[in-house]
Symmetry: C2
Subunit: 451 residues, 2 copies
């Protein structure tokens, strides 16, 4: 009887699911006739904004590994640090341009002819020009007035366009800029045929409806595409990106895990979660979401942070269910409580594993979540190790993960070698941090840890 109604419920659910998907309450708002929620593009800036993250020092190999992974994921653009930042930055920019990726390669320069000349020589598909237009930045950053700003912008734009590559003009700190100044410079650059104009919340304090209003206003002034860049100081970077798209912006700057200045910008994974809730078909048709976890792991290891426990989609608790809670909803279709489907991201539902261990199958669930491959017997073995340490002191998630990763490295090291690291010739204890790449960090760190 109970089971019957559950099965019956399931069938009903299936037919209703279609209807709900059709009338998706989280989808684009029909009143937003300029909305690009179903036509958005991503400018991936892990290798530009992300390089400004306090803990980021990318080697050439790491940059190439990240660029390839992002290209495979399906990002539309990859933005690189300015080639005038350093000799190495210039060489890395040229190297990435030569990879022949599907994604267009951009570099990010100041609004200055010296920078523009270097940039067009690197082989990039486009140049992102930025200049501070807020009163704060006019005073302290370069001290130029708006006429001068507009003049140098036009000069740079015409120069870059004459080389047949894309150009974006962006203001910095747009929400503290005078609206009339902003609009007049945007109109001027639009007239000379810039490909995109950009709005940037450089200080990370814009709010969603404010973003919508500015984008809608700008949309009435320019005919080119609008790109947006949101810092996350007040936790609104994903939501601001969404309302920008609703207002008619087309491109969103993101980085993996959101890494960047201070606590960063709109994260790639979080934006994907937001957008799949709005238009699943579009997102799945463009982006390989099942690669998200690997890309986040690659970048997290490169900058030596852990993926936050509460990270959208890939955080340990995003799809983790606590035993006993929602017993009923396990019988009912999972999407009753989960709009995001873990399988869309190549993930599964997990059960919590730490503290009061429910046994090796809970640990196996975490091994799976970490995307490591261990047999049932191996999971039982590592569970013994965890329990043993758990008797000595309380374990947090990172402790358990370390034990699992150590164990995994130990059992797999002789078999699997990441590309570029030869077990015979590579030093098992790396001194040259420059040469690290994402996978290398995992392998070598764990090798080191075995000592």
């Amino acid at each position: 009887m109970e089971m019957d109604s559950v099965i019956d419920g399931f069938l009903k659910f299936d037919s209703e699911y279609t209807e709900i998907t059709y009338n998706n309450p989280y989808g684009p708002n029909p009143a937003d006739y300029l909305s690009n929620v179903s036509h958005f593009q991503v400018i991936e800036s892990t290798l530009r904004e992300g390089e400004q993250f306090a803990n980021a020092f990318f080697s050439t190999d790491t940059k190439i590994a990240i660029a390839k992974a992002l290209d495979d994921f399906g990002v539309d653009y990859i933005e690189l640090t300015s080639p005038v930042a350093s000799e190495q930055s210039r060489r890395d920019c040229e190297a990435i341009c030569k990879l022949g990726l599907k994604a267009k390669i951009l570099t990010h320069i100041r609004c200055h002819m010296d920078d523009a000349r270097v940039a067009v020589e690197t082989g990039v598909d486009g140049v992102d020009v930025v200049i501070g237009t807020s009163q704060f930045l006019r005073e302290y950053s370069h001290g130029k007035d708006m006429t001068h700003i507009t003049q140098s912008a036009l000069e740079v734009i015409e120069y870059v366009k004459s080389h047949g590559i894309e150009i974006r003009f962006s203001s910095e700190d747009s929400f503290r800029s005078e609206l009339t100044d902003l609009l007049s410079i945007y109109r001027a650059v639009d007239k000379v045929g810039v490909n995109r104009v950009g709005i940037a919340d450089t200080v990370g304090c814009a709010n969603p409806r404010q973003v919508y209003e500015l984008v809608r206003t700008l949309k009435g002034v320019v005919s080119c595409d609008i790109e947006c860049h949101f810092h996350n100081d007040t936790g609104c970077a994903i939501a601001n990106a969404y309302t920008a798209l609703e207002g008619g912006a087309k491109l969103i700057d993101v980085s993996v895990l959101g890494i960047g200045e201070r606590n960063g910008i709109t994260p790639l994974g979080g934006l994907m979660a937001r957008m799949i809730a709005a238009d699943r078909d579009y997102v799945l048709s463009k982006y390989k979401l099942h690669k998200l976890r690997d890309i986040e792991t690659l970048v997290a290891e490169s900058v030596r942070v852990n993926i936050p426990f509460n990270n959208p989609v890939t955080g340990f608790c995003a799809f983790t269910h606590k035993a006993g809670v929602h017993a009923k909803s396990i019988l009912a279709p999972p999407s009753e409580y989960e709009i995001l489907s873990p399988s869309d991201f190549g993930l599964t539902r997990y059960i919590h594993f730490a503290n009061r261990l429910t046994g090796w199958n809970a640990i196996k669930s975490r091994v799976d979540q970490l995307n490591l491959d261990l047999s049932d017997e191996q999971c039982q073995e590592v569970t013994m190790k965890i329990k043993k340490l758990g008797d000595v002191r309380p374990l947090n998630i990172d402790d358990v993960d370390s034990i699992i990763k150590d164990f995994h490295a130990n059992v797999t090291t002789p078999v699997v070698r990441p590309v570029g690291i030869n077990s015979d010739t590579a030093p098992r204890v790396p001194h040259n941090l420059e040469r690290l790449d994402g996978n290398g960090v995992v392998a070598r760190k764990l090798l080191g840890r075995r000592r």
Copy 2:
């Protein structure tokens, strides 16, 4: 000459700062005449929603420590797990009610007389009633139709009110509920004098303008206060809270670090960052922001997670500057790039410390960020240890933190003992996880680690 213009700039900045503060671009929108951005209240649910976090198992002592810390911080309400959840939940609820806190104590029950009778006996100041009103939940969670829902809601409300305590009625999964169903039940409960009605984005997929619209619509139907509850599956929980306040909602549900079901709800700290950007005076007048880091540390240790590297305000990188970047902005006033002032949160600006160590003063900066107390000599000593391990293998932030915390525990253990842990009688290796409290976890974990 260079210095002159900097000093000149500084003076100009001061006078302009007043003007900018006055015309705060991130402040309440004057068009939102129902806005509660400058009158919001916080319902702190770490001890209810947070208890549903996969990794949360709070002992009575921990619950009391968290409740006291939240009360000291200045939260308006503290929400507790339903007393019918377990015998221990009921006793803990009674114990917290007896603490005599300034914050009002709420408990969260199903819309059922059995639950209501138990709740009013605990001594709470108010009861939060919740029921699923979406088609999904009507089908799978309790199978009741709207007439029945309304009837039982009215019975529970009148019963609770007859005991002279506050009552809130909330729907669950509000954004997937039929709008007419929602509004008619809200109007019914408002008529019988409920104190608040609640909107809940149970599945975490609502977006900011959608939230604004629903709140504005509801505001036209009820005269009582509106409370909102946002899950963070698509990273919009802070932004949704903000637009809800703009639309006229008054109370926001939060938890420390956002812990809760899946990846949680609006975080207390993130909301404070959002709101201080909008109305600094109001936030500073109500909440002890300088206690935020301690509360987050207490809760993080209790549920055995690390504070995410990119957490608003307290994450390692939120106020961390990379050496060499923004050299210019160090001369200019810091708020050119930072609207949020670290000093408002009792914090300071930090320099990055990991990887290519700039020396012991960088490590000292991290020691300070972790709120640990070490002398310059001790910082030099622990830096030696870090460099030594750094020669053996790459270190991530958590590695460095572990070394620092170990060192700190070692040098301070004989002197400082957290309340409730006596160094002579407490077992140095705890087996009874039930007895842990937040500070205890720090101390004992580190004791364990020394072995």
